[in-house]
Structure formats: structure tokens, C-alpha cells
Symmetry: C3
Subunit: 278 residues, 3 copies
């Protein structure tokens, strides 16, 4: 299985699918092609949320504002998953989440860590469409290298790492671009100063403040405005604002049947100061 996630819109991802289908019969599943444009951090947020739901797969993730520069391409192994991506850090947060969720035996070192490989890139046909010319064929080839092991049912993190290490086009590396989500400043037990990481299609403004910071039934101030904390949107009347803990585990600023970003005046990168009223 190969999943595809890009900020390419339409119809560019179809060219990637054609290229992949020339190399492998692997199932292709779209994760998203409308990831926030040119924002590797937002891509990392969404992939960290979505990819751990999948069984072992090769994930081709291309949000690549540096396309055509000398940034490298990487393949990141995490558990028995592999993420193929530009070396701009977007693969690391989802890789760590995959490693954490797929660890089985505590003794199995490989399953707890991630391996980063640099991809040797042939001169691509274009300077602007590496999704088609670099990342799609790399994902297809890695899938083909891994698949015989999967069919033999011997797949595990170590076997995956070994298969990647045996590919001539991959070289293990410690030099790669990292990406860590900003940590909120927790002033005291009652105030967290975080920021908005992403806004989802519902208009929910998702912050980096961990969900454990609030409790159902609290009231909190979000940048000074008092709203209830609810477990579900329906805990407040339609059109009212609230704070919930989303399925990704973070505090988000919402409206029941409306857009939280507009009602709270919050955009990606804005400060979100959450104070508990107790």
C-alpha cells in the first residue's frame, strides 16, 4: 500500500499515480492533496494524526516549498512504515508517532527509533514537479523492495530497515532537517500560552496546548474571552463558542455548527493564551 499526501491540489497528483502504477500494483490511497500550501509543519501535524491509523505502508508525502533547490529527498523508516518526503522535516513528527504506535517488543530497538535514509536522485525530468519525477518513483521502488517480505509475512521493523539499507539508492544518514512542534509555555497550572498549529476544514482552530491541560466542565479564557470546555460540540447551543479536546489530543477552539477560527479571530501561528477559570 502507498498513501499519497500533497499540497498539489488537482490534477497533479494523478500524474504521480500514473508513475506509481507503471512500477507497482500497490494499492494507492489518498490522504489529502489540499494540505496547507508550502507549510511542512502543518503537513507534519496532519500526517502525525492520520498515518498511525494505517497498517504498514509506504507513505509518499510532498509539501515542498524548496522544490528545485538542493534540499535532499529522504526515506524515513518508523516501525514497519516508510515515509518518502523532501528533507524539510515534515516526515519526522509522523515518523515518531508511527514508531511509538507500532512498537511491539520493548527489546526491539529498531521499532522504537526511526532511520533516516537519503535518496540518491537521478536528474529529474523537471525542476518543479519532483512529486512526479522523484518522490512517486522512489515510493514505488521502496514498496517493491519491501513487498516480498510482507508477502512472506516476516515483516517487522528490523526487516524493513534491512530492506531499505540494502537498496543502492538509499544511504543512511544522521544529517537531516528536523522539525519539532513549538511547545506551549505553561506559566502555572492555570495558564498556557500556545499557538494555533492548524485550522481544519470545519474551522476548528487547533492549538499546541495538550488536551490534558483542560477538563470537561471547566471554563477557560481564550485570549481573554470566557468560554466553556465541553466534551462535544453539542455541549453548547448551536452557534456558541467552546473549547474541546480534539481527536488529535490538543485543545481546539470551536463553534457548535460554525467556524471557530472566525468566532475566536484565530489564524495559523496566532498566539492562543488559555487560562483556566477556577
Amino acid at each position: 500500500m502507498i498513501t499519497l499526501a500533497t499540497d498539489f491540489g488537482s490534477p497533479y497528483p494523478a500524474a504521480m499515480k500514473g508513475v506509481i502504477r507503471r512500477e507497482t500494483d500497490a494499492e494507492m490511497i489518498d490522504v489529502a492533496h489540499d494540505l496547507p500550501r508550502g507549510d511542512p509543519r502543518a503537513a507534519a501535524f496532519w500526517l502525525r494524526f492520520v498515518l498511525p491509523e494505517f497498517p504498514p505502508a509506504v507513505h509518499c508525502a510532498v509539501v515542498d516549498p524548496g522544490v528545485g533547490t538542493d534540499r535532499a529527498a529522504v526515506a524515513v523508516r518508523a516501525g514497519d512504515h516508510v515515509i518518502v518526503a523532501p528533507d524539510n522535516g515534515l516526515a519526522l513528527p509522523p515518523a515518531r508517532a508511527l514508531a511509538a504506535s507500532s512498537g511491539t517488543a520493548a527489546s526491539e530497538r529498531a521499532s522504537a527509533d526511526v532511520d533516516v535514509f537519503e535518496v540518491a536522485v537521478d536528474d529529474p525530468a523537471s525542476a518543479t514537479f519532483h512529486g512526479r519525477d522523484v518522490f512517486a518513483p522512489t515510493a514505488a521502488r521502496i514498496h517493491e523492495a519491501l513487498e516480498p517480505r510482507r508477502i512472506a509475512d516476516s515483516v517487522d521493523a528490523t526487516a524493513t530497515a534491512d530492506a531499505l539499507a540494502a537498496m543502492p539508492s538509499l544511504t543512511r544518514t544522521d544529517e537531516h532537517v528536523g522539525l519539532v512542534f513549538p511547545e506551549p509555555a505553561i506559566d502555572d497550572a492555570s495558564t498556557a500560552v500556545g499557538e494555533v498549529l492548524v485550522v481544519d476544514d470545519f474551522g476548528n482552530a487547533i492549538t499546541n496546548v495538550p488536551g490534558s491541560f483542560v477538563r470537561d466542565g471547566d471554563r477557560v479564557r481564550v485570549n481573554g474571552e470566557s468560554v466553556p470546555v465541553g466534551e462535544t460540540f453539542a455541549s453548547v447551543p448551536r452557534g456558541d463558542r467552546l473549547v474541546t479536546v480534539g481527536s488529535h489530543g490538543y485543545v481546539e477552539c470551536d463553534v457548535n455548527d460554525g467556524r471557530g477560527d472566525e468566532a475566536f479571530g484565530l489564524s495559523v501561528g496566532d498566539e492562543a493564551r488559555i487560562s483556566i477559570e477556577r
Copy 2:
């Protein structure tokens, strides 16, 4: 085969696909993920239109403004199809359409009716993402329960009903939320007072007035404004308004190469008074 229809936008449906793929190799086909947000009636309209085109399948349909409340989850059998959905009525109109289109022998009672089962729900991981935590795994499990029968080629409505009845997590129920589309008031043979049910991506304003009410070549007044009835958009010049009978069988208010909703000033829920000029 499992079809997926939600109002989730992107990338939430990908999390559902990951969950399903952990449980089954069933083909997954997207019906839509941009159904009108929080509007089970519009979802019911579209699914009633689309699902009868499919061969027997499990359809996972999630438009769920009540997520996190105590609304139940249901599995509705219709013919040898099953719709998994929140119990807000959205499954009933498409289920009735599936039952009507898949009935074979008049003597086979099961094929003419629908069966509604309540789904026993484990405590979901989230209060806000039952698409991933409740509906996707339920659809996958139902698919797995039905699939051996399909492979044996013995599938029919009765076998499907029996397979569902045998699942411990399903309980047949008569208590469920219904949904009936509003009927237009037909004052006399020449005036129907209906409403706009949905507006499609082309801007066609689709009413609940049955297509049989108008005839090709008629002129009608729509809320007082006189337009021709045409079989095709091209029956009027580009940019002109007309009334057609859409492929769903209802009167719709259109513009050739333009948006009918804007030209007629019609939105979802608005009254549409159609009078025949003869």
C-alpha cells in the same frame, strides 16, 4: 466493497480508510466528503441518488451533527446493501431507494423492506471523531461478516439480513429516527409549491417537485418569473435560465453554462412555486 460518504472535508476521511484497511482488504470507494455540512437531509438526498448505482456494498455514511451526544449508531439493510450511519435519519431515504431497486422476486419480503439494527458502540477513543472510532470499524466488521457469503455467491437480501442478525454487536430495532423529504403542495394541475432540497456543484437548484409535473416545451413561472422547460441545458442560449428535470427525477432551476441558484435567487430550503403557463 465499502463506500465512504461524509461532510468531513480533508484529511479526516483518510483516518477512516486507515482504520478500515487494518480490518479488511475490501475495496474502498469515495462517494463524497464534501456533503453539505451538518445536513443529514441533504446527505440523504445525495445518497438516495448515488448508492443505487452500486452493486451490493457496505456504505459508511457520516453526516453527524449530534456526534458525542447519545444518538445511536445504526446499520440499515436494504436489498443486499448495508448503510452504516448515525441514527439521524440520513440512511432511510437511500435505503428505501436501494430496496426498491434491488427487489427481485415479489415474494421475497426481505428485499422489499429495510431492516434497522442498532450498533453496540464500545467507548470510542474520541468524543468528536466517531467516523474513525465508531462508523469505520463497524463498516469494516459488517463487510467481513458478509464477505464469505458474497464469495459463495449465495448473497441475497435474506442472507444479508441473517448475517447481520447473527452479529453480536447488532440488535434489530424498530425505534430509530426517520427522515422523509417534504412533499410539495400541488394546488391544482398547474401549480406546485415545493422547496429547494439541495444545490449541486453546478449551481443547479434541485427542488422536491417531481419531474412528471412539467413537460418538455412547457413554459413555467418559478416564483413568478417565466422560463422555458427544456430537456437539456443546450435547449436555451448560453446564460439563459431554464427548468429541467434532472437525472434524479426532480424539477431543477438551471442556467445554461451558469449557476441557477444565483440567477433564480434560490438557496436550500427556499420555497419554489412552479406554475405551468398553458
Copy 3:
């Protein structure tokens, strides 16, 4: 494999998938369902770009402003691909590109040319949804007619042409609607007067001026305004305008991390006068 490309938005393409799945188990891959509405020329541009990436397939392409009129439906063979489309010319440019890219032996006449077949159309169920009632079932039937040859591994352009010619519903024809992209006027070695063919999702304004007209490092005037020619977006600071040669081989007017159409004031069909400053 059947690819699907339409301007139908959502959820109409799902009805086509249901119809196809009733007839064949062929894999279905979405190319795009948001092609510029009612614009066969733009559809032809995108399909010419995307389809040659695919291995042999049946491509169902429906951008059909003449739906319901007496325009014909065609199946166009190119190499061992087939495009099923309304007879409005949209299939010809991608078919020529497929023929050029799949030609193997120079002696094999069939691989260099394209064959156009008119599709005999049963009275369709609707006058407005031939995607579902005409093109999807035709694509499915053609796929089924070709597939045994593919499995026998004897597929090539001649075999594909023969299989189509043997289908009772197809009749070879020389009378069909053509479509040729407008050629730019190249006044002299330093000035090309072209037009904007399409604007992509990034806002890149793609012209019909061939990429060979400019060189990396040139400066050019676009409708009088001086900008650099760069190989990649990142060759200019963020927010700056530039001209690049896109992966489709044409000159496009871009902004690094922004929308070229807005910055240059260019829309589809606008004149783009490109002068080299040397």
C-alpha cells in the same frame, strides 16, 4: 484500469463509479473532477499532461457542455490506450500525446496514429447525465473487451485497435470534432505573443509559448513588465514574480510562494506577450 476525469465536482462522479463497478472489477483512478467547467480545451491540456504517465488504460473523460444535444460520443485509440469522451475534441490532444509516447517500432503504423470510433448510444436514462448513462458504461465495456488481451500479454496498439473494431457498438469514423491548441505568434527571435491556456491550483498562469523560447537566466517582459526567468520558484525571493518552464514544457507566469495569475493580472484566454531582454 479505468481513469476518470470530469468537471462534475461532487458527488456525481461516484454514480459513474457505481455503474462501472457493476460491469467490471477494473481498478478506477481519479484524474480530476474539478477540471475547468465546460471547457474542453482546458480538459485537453490537462489530460495531455497527465495521461501519458499512465500504463495502458481506458480513460473516461467527460467535459461536455453539449450534453443532451446530438453531439456524438467517441472512443479514441492511441497506442494501447483508449479515451472515451464526448465528440468535442477534448480527446485528441491527449490521444496524440499518448500515441507519441507509446510508439515502439517505427514500422508499426498503428502506434503512431490514433483511431477514432463513434459510439452507438442507447437511449440514455437522462438527458443531462451522460457521464453516468453513456460514458461510464462505454468505458467499462471497452475495458472488458480489451482485458483478456492484456492478460494474455499480447496487448499492443494493433491488438487494441482490432479489439475496438470488433465491438458492435463502435464504428470507425473520420468525421469527428478536432481540437488544436492555438499557436503563439513568434514575431522574431525575441518576442512571442501567446495566450494563457490554463491557470493551475497554485495560480501559475500557463501559456502556450513553448519552454524552448526562454532560457534560465534570461530576463523577459511579460506584457511589458520585466521579470527574471528561473529554473525553480526558489530562484527568486518569496513573493517575487518570475517566469519558469513548467513540467508540461510551456512558459508559465509564477510567484514564488504566491499566485502568478493575480500578480501578473492574467486569466485564461488573456494575451501573454513575452519579450526577451538581451
